[in-house]
């Protein structure tokens, strides 16, 4: 075990804020899952706590490994994730008509979550190595390729949400690396222009999700049902909400998935606009602190890693809340630290661990 002296102090908010958000989330998780008939509320809450302890263990491990070493090993992670994704494509357990999970000894495990981390490390490695040719098109292209490769694997599962989440990571890392904007915006433009092509590749239920987003009333019994009910839940919370465990929509089983992807609807219904504001502000503060680390550090790789983490967490948070409130199509993206689910929680904690890692080692060389 290395314990080199340049370990300095790190910004404590980087760990306080996620834990704060987690425990607030736990409160809502209890409320959300107590209405589920088959499993008592305590079960989900307890499990989430177990995941947290595992997550904290992961954090401890990760912060003790110099992040630069992790960056050096990034291609191994990338390869492992690719293999895992291939396995999921071949065999994956299917729930809700999508292959996202692998079953390992009774635990379900989502490789697409870990793909995000692998991408962050991989992009940092690649762009860091090419920092002297950062203005070149080839560098941009390489980064895009690394991303697209994972994107296609995840997209084919099909898991649109996780696949799309790769792009804000790419965007944030490219921006932090000072890749010329014209490349970035050029490709966004291309992406939009190519979207009719995407339409054809999309599966039926994904197309339907997009259409339902444009008009949720179109599918009142399926995807549209969840969104309509979620909007009602959040909207009816008004300014102050209905109080903990007082959410009629959530308590009376109107909302499937309320303990996972749609948990923000419980926040909206029970704590109202002020509650939502609180949660969003906590997240925003966390994001700003993360980006502050990127500003402070001199290490190129560290900067890119932190930017990638910020992009990932920001995207998930914003998209999840927007989706719950009916402003965006339904994509399967959990709310970091709050939604129930081991993979998401551990991955988010690992991401935070990376940021802390960078913050601890921002020496001047």
């Amino acid at each position: 075990m290395h314990s080199l002296n340049y370990k300095k102090r790190f910004d404590p908010l980087l760990i306080i804020l996620p834990l704060l958000i987690f425990f607030i989330g736990l409160v809502f998780l209890y409320s959300a899952s107590s209405g589920i008939k088959t499993i008592k509320g305590i079960d989900y809450t307890l499990r989430q706590l177990i995941w947290l302890t595992i997550g904290l263990a992961v954090v401890l491990i990760v912060v003790n490994i110099d992040f630069r070493r992790l960056v050096d090993l990034s291609y191994i992670f990338y390869a492992l994730v690719t293999i895992a994704l291939f396995i999921v494509l071949m065999t994956g357990g299917s729930r809700m008509g999508a292959k996202r999970w692998l079953d390992i000894g009774g635990f379900t495990f989502q490789p697409s979550e870990f793909a995000k981390l692998a991408l962050i490390l991989g992009l940092s490695f690649y762009l860091g190595n090419n920092r002297y040719s950062i203005r070149g098109f080839r560098t941009f292209f390489g980064a895009a390729f690394i991303t697209l490769f994972l994107f296609i694997l995840i997209f084919k599962e099909p898991d649109l949400g996780s696949a799309l989440a790769l792009f804000p990571i790419l965007f944030a890392v490219l921006a932090a690396a000072a890749v010329p904007f014209k490349y970035i915006f050029g490709s966004v433009f291309l992406g939009l222009a190519a979207s009719p092509l995407f339409w054809n590749i999309m599966k039926d239920y994904q197309k339907r999700r997009l259409l339902v987003f444009l008009n949720p009333n179109m599918d009142p019994l399926g995807a549209g049902y969840t969104v309509i009910q979620s909007k009602i839940a959040i909207g009816s919370g008004g300014l102050l909400g209905k109080g903990w465990m007082g959410g009629t929509q959530s308590q009376l089983n109107f909302l499937p998935e309320r303990h996972t992807d749609f948990i923000f609807s419980v926040v909206g219904e029970e704590w109202g606009f002020l509650g939502c504001l609180l949660v969003i502000l906590l997240y925003t503060l966390l994001l700003l602190r993360i980006l502050a680390v990127a500003e402070k550090t001199n290490d190129v790789y560290g900067k890119l890693i932190v930017a990638g983490v910020a992009g990932m967490l920001a995207f998930q948070m914003i998209v999840n809340i927007a989706m719950t409130a009916g402003f965006m199509p339904v994509v399967g993206l959990p709310l970091p630290f709050i939604s129930y689910g081991g993979s998401s929680l551990i991955m988010s904690m690992a991401a935070i661990a990376l940021v802390i890692n960078v913050d601890m080692r921002k020496t001047v060389f």
Partner: protein, 572 residues
Amino acid sequence: MKITFLKRTVLLFVCMLIACLFYLQIVQGEYYLKMSQKNRIRVIPLRAPRGNIYDRHMELLAGNRLAFDCAVIPQEFDDSIEVLNKVALMLDMPGGSLKSKIEENALAPFAPTTLKRDLDKELAISISERSLDFPGLLIQTYPVRYYPHGSSSSHITGYIGLINEEELSILKRYGYMIKDYVGRTGLELFYDDYLKGESGGMQVEVDSRGRELEVMGIREPSKGMDITTTLDIRLQEYIDSLLGSHKGAAIVMLSQSGDILAMSSKPDYDPNAFLSPAKFGEVKKLLTGRDCPLINRAISASYPPGSVFKIVTATAALELGRITEDELLDCGGYYVVGNRRFHCWKKSGHGLQTIREGIKNSCNVFFWQTGLKAGVDAISDFGARYGLGRKSSVDLPYETEGVLPGRGWKRRTKGESWYPGDTMNLSIGQGYLLLTPMQVTCMYNALATEGKVFTPHIARSIGGVDVFPQQTDMLKISARTFRAIKDGTKRAVQDAGGTSSKADAEGLDIAGKTGTAETGTDRTHAWFAGYSPADDPLVTVTVFLEYGGKGGGLPCEIASKIFIKLEELGYL
């Protein structure tokens, strides 16, 4: 600095998010609050009508009628004792039972909970008229399956039942919902995904009295696809009446296409019984009946074929040159193997016969000799070519393959080697051999058409798209062999003394073969398989009677009447 750019982007999106939430919760808060209150929303599934099934002349075999259920929306319904009693009185149900019914049948919040199913139209209308007095009480209309021809089409159409939990967990992703119906047997099962259509639903905003204010969202159901079959229901019903109370099966197939004109299996059942809650007692009887009325004996049961199998023995021997078509073999009434005598069915023997007479007389001694000359491997091989031991792939579920024995088969399943005695049994269609009436039909069809193999089928168009019959194979058996055997079958029917002579009918050119299969009890299974016209066949007919006595008796008589009817209906 690029990081500043990122910070600003994040803040921008966060502000947009907060603004949207503000709009949703503050500006529209009142509206959504009303929405979330209990008596505001109903979620009503709109069931899709199942596709219809027709016979070849567009006679309805399976269709939908409108049924009326009485249901309540629990959140709107006043469940005080007096109201419950009044409602129970209207519905003619015991007063105390309603409350528990509401709890049992609860589906989802704001979804209707069924109280009583399939009401009389009059009662349904009168309840509807009084609905303002009973907020939350409503009449639901939806399509219910019915089978106008009841038992005669039962094995073809099959029946449907409610989806169960296990099936739902697998089928949910294909659009099946709870309380959907799925086919359980017959065409209803085989083509379920075409027939079932797509359910829709609507979310409606209602006032405190339950009157619909606004349809918040609707997805129209889409009807399932209709299926037109190759069946002729007039022929089918006629054959059913001929079979009467006998157990067995009869199949009529168009020789040049594989179209199934009729497929009867007795005993049969009324598929409507599965859909009417009043008839559940009958259903229980059907499910536990000892004579297995739910089994389609034409395809799901296999039996020893007896002499109808002899054409395979003949084919094997002729094709391999072990006998020639004019070669004479003697039948003295018995055949000696080792120190045992095996008797022919005619004690006095048939004398010298060629293959044609052997078939005409269905002489066992002839075929024992022929079979031993051909050998088990050849007989097995040609049996397989005729499609035996395999499913015919007709478009119905639960088809069985029967058993086509052979050397390897016996070693694998019984761990013993094959004896000459087994060959003798096999040659005359006994022993381990088991065939379905469908396989027998296909076999005789291949013979009749001199080698054309068709996949038998019942659906001829689905959702307006025609399903074209295709000849799937041409048997590599010489025309000479076929003609020799066909000649034998022609003589069996049309010559004096032929075993199938009762199958003959005036003015028609019929050929065929009988079978009387030993079963190990003192009763035999009775078969007839034949076709007409003999040289250029249009129809192939098989009649099988479980424990029906002699093949030359009832099956032939029934077949004869079937051929006459076929001529009457214009198929001959």
